[in-house]
């Protein structure tokens, strides 16, 4: 490391790294380097984020007035459907695993690459093909079934372009499956000497748990949508009651994947937070084994709660009771995480760098999202607030307040590693605060709207709900600014940002022991791990002076 920094602590970019190892469009499109594939994913999920964001903006503008003048009711149905499909299948699910996970998992465990680099590239192409089908559906008639594709609406009655959308999501599923498969095998077989299971960073544990859901859940949604698609194309009757099929069976199969899919979105974000909190508290994480175990517990219990989406379909009371109880159980490992993070903060030497702001924001928003989830797991209360804006607010607190906050926070945290440069700290902190304020202003009023009885997916609402809806739309505008800001300064920093050096925070993980940006092979020599995770005290290489006051993590700009 001393090669990289001179006596004044100024850093230089390493002479050779994965970004300048080879040049040309072919070297990117045919790369098998997990770090480059991560950047390919970064570009494509960002594209879909803005597609989904555009639909969200139109929804919010339409709902400014009770009558809604912007679009027709039919178009409104398409807007919320396409918003959901773009955001869930093509942004949230691949975001952290395929971008940050792809970049970090091999480096964090001290490997040169994932176990199957070509399959990794294949999964990106599969994602693109699936995304292409879905964009084709969006642009040739749109999609109006809701992101849930409930039959027989999707398989018989809808007049929108359901078939290409279903094919696209079916294809995209294999991208998730291959990513999950790659991670599981890599974490099992590619760990560096000394990197035992209980020395793995918690981010890797979270990716492992997520991969389990990819592997066990995604095939089920694939076959379900395949059957629904065949039903639509060939007028078969798997889920069509008129032909003897069972629409409730579709819902069971759909939610068997799509509830665990929520944990696909939130678990990796929890992994990000588990990395950020100890770094900016300068303290080993509290209850490492419990946080690791709770990731696995969430993945496992998450598979046993799907029918809480179906309390109102007339499922048996006893089944509903069991699913209600199991849904409450998920709160336990989730709470274990929150308590452990806050205990890590306790008496820590906290610095409020940008990633830390996102992590703290995550804890607060996830707490609200999680607690309102308990309302919905409650059989009696769910009857009242089912399919209202309360549900919409709840899952946006988890998916946007939780997953997206974690993703953006993680992008900032590892940006110096990915690009070798720092982003402008003041702007970044401002953006984090803008996001937090904008998010709460958008979605908190929706809890109240839902509780007062405003149903979701309606293009119109009674006049007394207008004030809260205007607040929500105003919040959404602030939120949009909060997303555009990082977009601008992160791109700016790729060229003009201050050189970061190998470990700017400093943090304890293996990824910070190599160059920023790393070599194509990640490490000059395969590292040997002889320290415990998140241990600052026995790590002279971090440059923290024992007994002295801790340097501000971000320098003094």
């Amino acid at each position: 490391m001393s090669i990289m920094s001179n006596v004044f602590g100024e850093h230089k970019l390493p002479r050779e790294h994965y970004l300048n190892a080879t040049y040309g469009i072919r070297s990117w499109l045919l790369t098998t380097d997990h770090k480059r594939i991560a950047l390919l994913y970064l570009a494509s999920v960002t594209f879909f984020f803005f597609v989904g964001g555009l639909f969200a903006a139109m929804i919010r503008i339409h709902l400014l007035t009770p009558g809604g003048y912007l679009v027709s009711p039919e178009t409104y149905n398409k807007l919320f459907t396409m918003h959901g499909v773009a955001m869930i299948f093509f942004f949230l699910i691949p975001s952290i695993p395929a971008v940050l996970g792809n970049f970090l998992v091999p480096i964090m465990i001290g490997a040169k690459d994932l176990a199957f680099p070509k399959i990794n590239l294949l999964s990106w192409y599969i994602y693109l093909i699936g995304g292409g089908f879905v964009l084709y559906s969006f642009s040739t008639g749109g999609l109006d079934t809701g992101w849930t594709f409930y039959t027989p609406l999707s398989s018989v009655y809808s007049n929108s372009a359901v078939t290409p959308a279903v094919i696209g999501i079916f294809i995209n599923g294999f991208s998730s499956i291959l990513t999950g498969l790659n991670f599981v095998v890599t974490i099992h077989t590619m760990r560096a000497p000394g990197m035992t299971w209980f020395r793995l960073p918690l981010f890797v544990w979270a990716q492992y748990a997520t991969s389990l859901i990819f592997i066990l859940g995604t095939p089920v949604i694939a076959i379900t949508l395949l059957l629904a698609g065949l039903e639509r194309m060939f007028h078969l009757g798997f889920f069509n009651p008129a032909l003897g099929g069972d629409p409730i069976l579709f819902q069971h199969l759909f939610w068997f994947y799509s509830h665990p899919a929520v944990y696909i979105m939130i678990l990796p974000a929890m992994g990000v937070v588990s990395e950020i909190i100890p770094t900016f508290s300068r303290k080993p994480i509290f209850g490492y084994a419990f946080i690791a175990g709770s990731s696995i517990a969430i993945a496992v219990i998450g598979f046993l709660v799907w029918a809480h989406h179906m309390f109102l379909t007339g499922e048996s009371t006893y089944a509903a009771l069991a699913f209600s109880l199991l849904s409450y159980l998920v709160a336990i490992p989730s709470a274990v995480k929150v308590f452990n993070w806050t205990s890590t903060l306790y008496k820590g030497s906290i610095s409020y760098d940008t990633p830390m702001l996102y992590a703290l924001g995550f804890i607060g928003l996830f707490l609200i999202g999680g607690l309102t989830g308990l309302f919905l797991a409650c059989l009696g209360l769910d009857i009242h607030i089912h399919d209202t804006y309360f549900v919409v607010a709840h899952f946006h607190y988890i998916m946007v307040g939780g997953a997206v906050m974690g993703y953006v926070g993680g992008l900032h945290f590892w940006w110096p590693k990915i690009t070798g440069r720092l982003y402008p700290e003041f702007l970044a902190r401002t953006a984090a605060v803008v996001l937090f304020v904008g998010f709460n202003l958008t979605f908190f009023p929706q809890f109240i709207l839902g509780y007062l009885g405003m149903p979701r997916r309606y293009h119109t609402y009674p006049e007394e709900f207008q004030a809260l809806n205007v607040m929500s739309t105003a919040g959404a505008s602030i939120l949009a600014l909060g997303y555009l800001l990082p977009m601008v300064y992160l791109i700016w920093s790729m060229r003009y940002g201050k050189i970061a050096g190998p470990n700017p925070w400093p943090a304890t993980g293996l990824e910070w022991k190599t160059d920023s940006p790393p070599l194509t092979e990640n490490f000059h020599v395969t590292p040997i791990v002889d320290w415990e995770p998140y241990d600052f005290s026995r790590r002279p290489d971090l440059g923290l002076i024992a007994g002295g006051s801790l340097a501000p993590a971000h320098g003094d700009d």
Binding site: F116, M190, L216, L227, F238, L249, L253
Partner: protein, 248 residues
């Protein structure tokens, strides 16, 4: 990543590479179990809901062809296992011979499947394409045995007879559901067989070059895993589709 001999650059040792490949295939097979699982669940629920229509429909399948195919597949699993063994002990010639045998048995299975599908097509039992469960009994071919046609007719009449407690007034729709699942499940299985056959062709080509040795035989082993899995799917499909409630 650069490749040195059979070792890809991201791995440290051949053993690590082999472990990764084998684990990767096992994980893939887990996803396959869940993929087929959705179909098995749909089938089981409908079999329970419409047992009369499903019983009548499964009786139209040719037990002899199905049984023959089951034997063929089990034999192919044996030859596949033999080729893995031959690769492990370094009998290079036998690897190729057993792989070719496996491929022949696999294509035999697919050929018989073509005969069965053709039959269903002629009997108007392809869903959404003039589907009519009574067509065959009303339009028998010259080669059909008269008493079998009479049996079939009697069974169909009984299935819609209101005096029969297990009657099904929507027999044709529910029979079509059966055949949707029949074609879905056997079609998906056949697709996996075709992929497997393609992999076998590649293995045969590589083994003719003498690539598989006791030190390096991972491809044979993991294609073997895949092949056995596809066979096991059929071992479940055969009784589910052909044997339950068989009475003719």
């Amino acid at each position: 990543m650069h490749r040195t001999g059979e070792l890809y650059g991201q791995f440290q040792t051949l053993e690590q590479q082999k472990d990764s490949a084998a684990l990767g295939m096992w994980v893939f097979l887990v996803t396959e179990v869940l993929f087929f699982g959705g179909l098995f669940l749909t089938y089981t629920i409908n079999r329970h809901a419409f047992s009369t229509a499903f019983g009548v429909s499964s009786n139209t399948l040719d037990l002899w062809l199905g049984g023959f195919n089951t034997v063929v597949l089990i034999m192919s699993s044996m030859t596949m296992a033999m080729s893995v063994w031959a690769a492990q002990v370094g009998k290079k010639k036998q690897v190729t011979v057993f792989l070719i045998l496996t491929l022949l048995l696999g294509t035999t299975f697919l050929g018989v499947k073509v005969i069965e599908y053709t039959q269903k097509f002629q009997h108007h039992l392809v869903p959404a394409y003039h589907f009519d469960i009574t067509y065959h009994s009303n339009h028998p071919l010259a080669t059909d045995k008269p008493e079998e046609i009479a049996n079939e007719k009697e069974e169909l009449e009984k299935a819609v007879d209101r005096k029969n407690p297990a009657n099904d007034q929507d027999l044709n729709a529910h029979a079509q559901l059966y055949f949707s699942l029949y074609f879905g499940m056997t079609g998906l299985h056949a697709l996996h067989m075709i992929v497997g056959a393609g992999l076998l062709v590649w293995l045969i080509k590589e083994s003719l070059r003498g690539r598989f040795t006791p030190q390096y035989n991972t491809p044979v082993e993991i294609v073997g895993l895949y092949w056995h899995f596809v066979d096991i799917v059929w071992i479940y499909l055969f009784p589910l589709l052909y044997l339950i409630d068989r009475h003719r």
